[in-house]
């Protein structure tokens, strides 16, 4: 770890203007001051004598540092995933008891992980960023400040491992790229792709729902102020209404479910099973066909076993995943539009037939055949499109875009059926990194060295859908490992942490044999240097 030139960092970020532009809901910012520290056993975690320091940085982000009594010299600097940027009233599914924007600091992916790391002698730190929503710039900066603050407070910190989840992983990689020397190892878990890639995926799904099932969904172009906020809430209600209608129709008649009454698709086209329309918008937007309940393969024992796995399961999975994707799209897009000052989602030139690609062949049966697929694509082709505001997009693009510049050992952990941050984000990062390595080989100075990135892929079991005695699919209490968003087990996260700590010390990536040994007993993890998950549709 090198000394951090904080002043240089501040200038490089030109943050004053940038942060002001993107500020959404900012709590009253307190001036940075010495953190308040206390020493106590953490009863909840059963860890003795941990010094806990809390404070607020100069931009108003709350932070927390936890320092165990028997410190081993390495700090884990954690960046949390995206949180909603606005308060919400009680809304089923989205916020059953209401939501108040959460600015609390988060020092680790979970309490169990925090406990284990503290017991091993690692220090932990994390911020609760002063602006929530798509806060890439603010979060990167908060991590930079916190790293500096922690080292000022605890000079015995000799190594810093930066790691994060989802958007926090993106900001962690951004931190490492923008401020080389700040960290000694990087852990990117369920990393997000860029804001435009993510909003294109979620926005395409939302636009598909609007086009097929309820054209009164606004989806983009929210008004300023309270009116826009109410429009956003209205969209959430409408999307929930569509999802409930679709789920009800599928429960009544899974083979030929009816279309929602809010749909304005011509009656002749509504002869197409609506499950095929759901699947189509999932495939063109890139939503996973494996979800919490559905593995796109299993069927209830008996005559319908194969047909359930073939025809129904992929569509049901898309609906289960897509409900979250669409609701995320509303909240995230509302936030991004405010940040950028206009519409940033754009499908004005999107060719959805091309987006479908060979998925149209592989999923021909659940799409109800080539003929119906063609009809559905013709509806999408003819539907009104959304054109982004170029100035808003330009403002949004001022946020840092990953370059694949890697100077310290970096470990990615990505799930193949993550429905919020699909693994294509990791593939994109690996492609960027490969390009940097190629530059180095071509003699370009300052590009990445080979052999610094390790990627561990997390996949679901081959089959996991279960059925009750009546042949109905059973939704498990927890997402199966390999599906869901950032749905890693504690042991998976800890094995990544262990390798990160070792890499931070040695300056080297874990060897192939070390990684193989670490994941040997976990059937849901694999490593293969040649494996690449499909890129986001935005990038294909």
């Amino acid at each position: 770890m090198k000394n951090i030139n904080l002043k240089k960092g501040l200038v490089a970020l030109t943050t004053a203007a940038l942060v002001a532009t993107f500020a959404v809901v900012v709590p009253s910012a307190a001036r940075a001051a010495e953190p308040s520290c206390s020493v106590a056993p953490l009863a909840l975690y059963n860890v003795a004598n941990v010094t806990t320091c809390t404070g607020v940085d100069e931009k108003g982000s709350k932070y927390e540092i936890r320092m165990p009594a028997k410190f081993n010299g390495t700090l884990f600097l954690y960046s949390h995933g995206i949180r909603k940027s606005v308060n919400l009233p009680a809304i089923p599914v989205v916020a059953p008891t209401g939501y108040v924007v959460d600015y609390s600091p988060e020092v680790a992916p979970s309490a169990e992980v925090a406990t284990s790391l503290l017991k091993q002698g690692f220090a932990l730190a994390g911020a609760g960023v002063q602006a929530q929503g798509w806060n890439l710039t603010e979060q990167t900066y908060a991590a930079l400040l916190l790293s500096h603050e922690a080292q000022m407070k605890f000079p015995k910190i000799s190594k810093v491992v930066a790691w994060g989840n989802s958007l926090g992983a993106l900001s962690t990689q951004a931190l490492a790229e923008q401020y080389p020397g700040t960290v000694d190892a990087v852990g990117n878990m369920c990393p997000s792709d860029s804001g435009l890639a993510e909003i294109t995926m979620a926005g395409d799904f939302l636009w598909g729902l609007k086009t097929f099932f309820d054209p009164t969904i606004k989806a983009t172009g929210y008004s300023a102020g309270t009116a826009g906020y109410m429009e956003m809430l209205g969209d959430i209600q409408k999307v929930l209404g569509v999802i409930v209608a679709l789920k009800t129709a599928l429960a009544i008649n899974p083979t030929s479910p009816t279309w929602p009454t809010t749909s304005t698709v011509p009656a002749a086209y509504q002869a197409i099973p609506v499950r095929s329309a759901i699947l189509l918008i999932g495939l063109v937007s890139g939503v996973s066909t494996q979800s919490k309940t559905y593995d796109a393969s299993s069927g209830p024992a008996g005559a319908g076993e194969t047909s359930f796995g073939l025809v129904l399961s992929p569509a049901l999975a898309v609906l289960e995943n897509g409900a979250e994707a669409a609701l995320l799209a509303i909240a995230a897009n509302y936030d991004m539009e405010i940040r950028a000052g206009g519409i940033i989602y754009d499908n004005s030139k999107t060719n959805y037939s091309a987006r479908l690609g060979e998925d149209g062949d592989a999923f021909a049966a659940p799409l109800s055949g080539k003929t119906f697929t063609g009809y559905m694509l013709s509806i999408l082709a003819a539907a009104p499109r959304v054109t982004a505001d170029p100035a808003a997009v330009a403002r949004f693009k001022q946020m840092y875009d990953l370059q694949g510049k890697v100077t310290v050992p970096t470990i990615n952990l990505a799930a193949t059926a993550d429905h919020i941050t699909p693994p294509g984000a990791t593939t994109h990062f690996l492609d960027l990194y490969d390009a940097q390595v190629a530059k180095t080989r071509a003699g370009v100075e300052g590009a990445s060295q080979a052999g610094l990135v390790t990627t561990i892929w997390n996949r679901p079991s081959d089959t996991y859908t279960t059925f009750d005695k009546d042949g109905k699919p059973v939704t498990p209490d927890v997402w199966p490992n390999g599906t869901g968003h950032c749905n890693y087990t504690t042991s998976q996260i800890l094995l990544v942490a262990k390798m990160l700590a070792a890499s931070a010390k040695s300056g080297k990536s874990p060897s192939a044999s070390t990684v193989a040994a670490a994941i040997k007993k976990d059937a849901n993890l694999f490593v293969d240097p040649n494996y690449r998950a499909p890129l986001f549709k935005y990038r294909q």
Binding site: T289, Q290, D295, A296, S297, A303, E305, T306, S307, G309, L310, V311, S313, P314, E358, D359, D361, A362, F363, A364, A365, P366, L367, S368, G369, K370, T371, F372, D462, T463, F526, D528, N530, Y531, R532, P534
Partner: protein, 432 residues
């Protein structure tokens, strides 16, 4: 004097021993003693009744080869995984074969939708995994840019459609009749539809259905509609065997079996499976079908009789039928491909060997193989026959097989072929 290093001496001795064995290759799945091959195909689920015999029949032939010395001393180990004929499962299991099982090559993968998804998901092109003798007639797999490691074995559905179109046009009893096509509404059926267009054949009506969706009620509705046509209309079925059975049983229920001239595509025309699925032997009697193989019951055929012997010994209790014949033929081609690649076995070597020598491999197929540096097409022709009540496919009317060959993309008419296949290698053991 230098001291002699015991370690060095042992290393030299070891090297001398190793030099007598085939050189170790860097590619996964091959050692000095073993070649690991992978197969993803349906072993359970509704399609397993038709194709479930593939893995064991293939393994039986490999066991036979292993018992006779293997391939340059290496035993073949076949790892078979069940994909249930589901695209997502095929992608999962093919990925498992490549990443977990670390197979050297895939062999005999089955299905268009399944293998389309599996090929991409398992990144066979990027890993340069030989994708040997794929059991689908989708002509798209001949796109070397997209599927550079795939080699088809079946003639394309477009070729089959062109030859069926010519057969109808050349057969006086069929030509004047109304004609109906019932086909899967996916790459399989669309390939067939395109083939009929290339052949210039126009159907009175084409009914396309998504795979797995043709219920008995829908079949009965379609047949009732077709039966309004005068005379003895022609119905062409291009679907999987279970769908063929659904339609034929619907015809039985409606007493329409003799109302139509039935033509069944090669994929859905296995008589044994149709009988097993409950189709009456009297219904099958007279059904016309295209094939590029000898009939699996034709014990006068040297390939059939040899494979029957192997099946009896290494796959006991399993009846010999077209699927077993297909599986053993695929396995025999695989052995020839591995041998053609030489002792220093590599993935690139196998691909190159099939491109340069594959068209000369011995095969039970009655049509030529078309492998070259520019083509990954397998067989390119069919002969026409008629099933009898025993389920035997006999040459149509003439008593002699008439083979036509063609391509997938042009309007040029299928041509009469004089191709004579190579004799089976002695005892069915390739020595190429």
């Amino acid at each position: 004097m230098k001291r002699i290093s015991i370690v060095s001496a042992v290393a030299v001795a070891g090297a001398m021993v190793l030099s007598t064995l085939p050189a170790q290759a860097a590619d996964p799945g091959v050692t000095s003693t073993e070649i690991k091959l992978g197969l993803s195909s349906p072993q359970t689920g509704t399609v397993a009744l038709s194709y479930g015999k593939l893995p064991k029949a293939m393994k039986a032939y490999f066991d036979y080869i292993n018992a006779n010395g293997g391939v340059y001393g290496r035993k073949i180990k076949l790892i078979a995984r069940d994909d249930k004929y589901l695209p997502t499962q095929a992608a999962t299991q093919t990925t498992n074969l490549v990443l977990n099982d670390k197979v050297f090559a895939l062999v005999g993968a089955l299905g268009t939708a399944t293998h389309t998804k599996a090929y991409t998901a398992a990144q066979l092109a990027k890993n340069n995994v030989p994708d040997l003798f794929v059991n689908t007639g989708f002509s798209g797999f001949d796109n070397k840019t997209k599927y550079p490691t795939s080699f088809l074995i079946l003639p394309s559905y477009a070729m089959e459609a062109k030859i069926i179109g010519k057969f109808i046009a050349d057969t006086p009893t069929l030509k004047p009749q109304a004609s109906f096509l019932v086909a899967q509404d996916d790459e399989f059926g669309v390939d067939g539809v395109n083939g009929f267009k290339l052949a210039g054949h126009t159907f009175t009506k084409t009914t396309l259905y998504p795979q797995g969706s043709l219920s008995s009620a829908l079949a009965e509705g379609a047949l009732t509609g077709f039966s309004a046509a005068p005379g003895k209309p022609v119905i062409v079925l291009m679907g999987t065997t279970d769908t063929t059975a659904t339609i034929l049983k619907a015809a039985e229920k409606l007493s329409l079996t003799t109302k139509f001239n039935w033509i069944v595509g090669s994929v859905g025309g296995d008589a044994n499976t149709l009988l097993a699925l409950g189709v009456k032997s009297t219904t099958i009697d007279g059904v016309m079908a295209a094939s590029f193989f000898p009939d699996a019951k034709d014990t006068s055929d040297e390939y059939v009789s040899q494979f029957m012997k192997i099946n009896a010994k290494y796959n006991p209790g399993v009846s010999f039928d077209n699927v077993v014949l297909q599986a053993m033929n695929t396995a025999m081609l695989t052995v020839q491909a591995l041998r053609a690649a030489g002792k220093n076995l590599t993935r690139a070597g196998v691909i190159s060997a099939i491109e340069t020598k594959g068209s000369t491999f011995a095969s039970a197929g009655l049509a030529p193989l078309n492998y070259s540096t520019t083509s990954h097409v397998g067989y390119n022709g069919y002969w026409f026959g008629q099933l009898n009540a025993k389920g035997e496919l006999l040459p149509y009317i003439t008593g002699k097989r008439t083979l036509y060959t063609t391509d997938s993309t042009t309007t040029s008419a299928p041509v009469l072929s004089t191709y004579e296949r190579k004799p089976i290698p002695k005892n069915g053991i390739p020595t190429n």
